[in-house]
Symmetry: C2
Subunit: 402 residues, 2 copies
């Protein structure tokens, strides 16, 4: 059986994802689609709308055959580490290709860009540093450095790194080439609207951000049903009826605020991604902010992207430190969150060829990478606040099977 | 003006306290009564029912002329440190006497007991150690050691240290004698029922524990009015209407649980009073306990008193470590929480004779002892959860003045 891999968050699963899975299968001629999916905290540094098992269920209903968890360490990391963790896992589970959506839509420019940047690594790094010294955020400085590097080049030969999905795609390619992977990159044109758009009428694909906003605003089922498969709508409704609230910083703010204010600024600065004195601003902002929105309006600055700040907050919330981050560079297991019958068949056929141990049930573990995933689930469920017996879900929840 | 001092928590102020204040004034012939009062966390290791300003107000209405805050470090400490902090403050503010309620009712046996224990210090300590090795809690071992020490003595000459107020009284005497204080000890017979009794009918004095239980159980105003001065009832009703909830571990449990579960057991063990591996039990119990009652039923053992465990929890909740505890042995200021006109007159007359600086307003401070008080108020107000702008009350709240 041939497998293609996709890197997903499915927060929540919508028609754009459905299209991505279907196209991935068709474009690569794969028999099965394997998704590496973030757990309960996401790359934008925020809690998922619904937990990882509910999102795995949506993925399986939407055409994915196997869902493997991207460990917390990579799922909440900046793009290059996120990509390295994801591609390592898809390689380890034996995918012959991985397929990502991009604004670019063709692979060649990604390869060209990788080779250009690699060949001019030193001047590129220097440019980034210089732009950051003018007060730019890292992504903005990177963008400007790249523009400088490609200023006299044929623009269609290189990827446009101002587009969010192109950036992620670039890091996937970089990871695959750097690890000298067997897995082959494939990209498909993204057809979704911009990342931050609200839902617009007369279209069947909206951004996950827009859909989340609609869900938080208690939009009608009819409204969100336009943009999500029926099975996803059902999963959202079941979560709402079982749990009552959705994961968000708004919901988790009392705990996050308490945690920030309980600690000294010295302690705050030990947490991953917290740098350059921003712990002082975080502490001061938490003092005066009764809501997460108030807090972010104080902390947000040109120096840091919203996403970067949220990643700091994720690590403060879960207690994940710089030391924890520096000690974990590669995935050490394949954690199975869900499978179809075809997915199970693939595992049976390939279980001897997997490059990392497959975990379908989690027992008491000494794998520190896995212990962060288990801990992150506990912290997520405490934030949700409405579940009896919220601790240890990872030990009690078997993979979703459809 | 002659001043007498009392050591109080007033949680909440009731008829027993009213009697204590009145008797203290009469017995010592003092012109004013000065109370050293715990802040928002108490010696039993729990959050106060209502905040320190509300309790100061009750005290002033009940006959106290000056309320000075006992700093967090002493207010939440074991009896000997609690007593040392309290007596130091009453000495520093110039009280000629201090007056405490005891089951004993006369001073001489306290002095005799202090001299006996001091003269046989080594064998007493050894006995305590031996009893603890049999699995007894510290207070129980101390009791047994003391019984051994006094076995052939005339019992009426020594204080009965199995009674809770006698124990506290003993530590007051010990503190005063050890610091060679000018302040003279006075005791009055306690007329209240046992500490843990519920409210009983046909009496006008009930324990604070019983009254708190009645308040948590939403007892009628008529019921609690039997046991408290009208002004205290009014303060309780005002708090209830302004804030909505009372301070308690039941109320604070979501934050305490989150804080325990977020940390590693190693981090837990850095907090003051956490010893001998109890951090493991605390962590495991927090995993399975949706309520504070469930939690305590798992953690409670013969080795540790309820109070001792609650003190650990207080320090975990506020982030107060062994290092913090070991660096603060003596009060460094007199923090004014409230005063009557007579109290103010006393301060005006004596301001040059005070042995420590008087703080009536708190500005940004480098006094770490004071910073714990300010931090404890913030943590208390976050636990209460119902106040807009809960942080920095210490900076914004002037002393209560009546």
């Amino acid at each position: 059986m041939r497998a293609t891999g996709v890197v997903v968050e499915h927060n929540p699963f919508h028609n754009g994802h459905l299209y991505h899975i279907k196209e991935s299968r068709e474009n690569t001629g794969a028999d099965i689609v394997i998704a590496v999916m973030s757990g309960n905290f996401l790359q934008r540094g925020e809690p998922a709308l619904v937990d990882k098992w509910t999102r795995a269920q949506m993925a399986l209903n939407g055409g994915v055959d196997l869902v493997i968890e991207l460990p917390y360490v990579f799922a909440t990391a900046q793009a290059s580490d996120f990509a390295r963790g994801s591609i390592s896992i898809l390689e380890a589970i034996g995918c012959s290709s991985f397929c990502f959506g991009s604004e670019q839509g063709t692979i060649e420019p990604f390869i060209n860009t990788y080779e250009l940047i690699t060949s001019q690594k030193e001047s590129y790094q220097l440019l980034i540093k210089q732009f950051m010294q003018t007060g730019m955020s890292y992504p903005k400085a990177l963008n400007e450095a790249y523009a400088t590097l490609t200023v006299n080049k044929e623009s269609s030969s290189y990827v446009d790194l101002s587009k969010p999905n192109n950036i992620l795609g670039y890091h996937y390619i970089e990871s695959a080439l750097q690890m000298d992977a067997q897995i082959q990159p494939v990209t498909i044109q993204r057809i979704v609207a911009g990342y931050h758009d609200d839902i617009e009428e007369d279209q069947s694909i909206a951004s996950a951000t827009g859909i989340r906003k609609a869900i938080f605003d208690d939009a009608s089922i009819q409204e969100i049903s336009q943009y999500m498969p029926l099975s996803s709508v059902e999963n959202i409704l079941k979560w709402k009826s079982d749990i009552g609230v959705f994961g968000s910083w708004q919901q988790f703010w009392p705990f996050l605020r308490f945690t920030i204010l309980r600690m000294s600024t010295n302690e705050l600065s030990t947490h991953a991604e917290v740098t350059e004195g921003i712990e002082n601003l975080i502490k001061e902002a938490a003092k005066t902010s009764d809501t997460f929105e108030d807090f972010m309006s104080v902390v947000k600055s040109k120096r840091y992207t919203w996403t970067r700040i949220q990643r700091m907050l994720t690590h403060i919330y879960t207690g994940f430190t710089w030391t924890d981050l520096h000690h974990h560079k590669e995935p050490t297991y394949l954690r199975l969150l869900g499978m179809t019958q075809n997915g199970q068949k693939y595992l049976n056929e390939n279980k001897k060829n997997l490059a990392l141990p497959l975990l379908s049930r989690v027992a008491a573990t000494k794998d520190s990478l896995l212990s962060y995933d288990i801990h992150a689930t506990d912290m997520y469920m405490l934030g949700i606040q409405s579940r009896i017996n919220p601790i240890g879900m990872d030990y009690r929840t078997p993979p979703i099977s459809i």
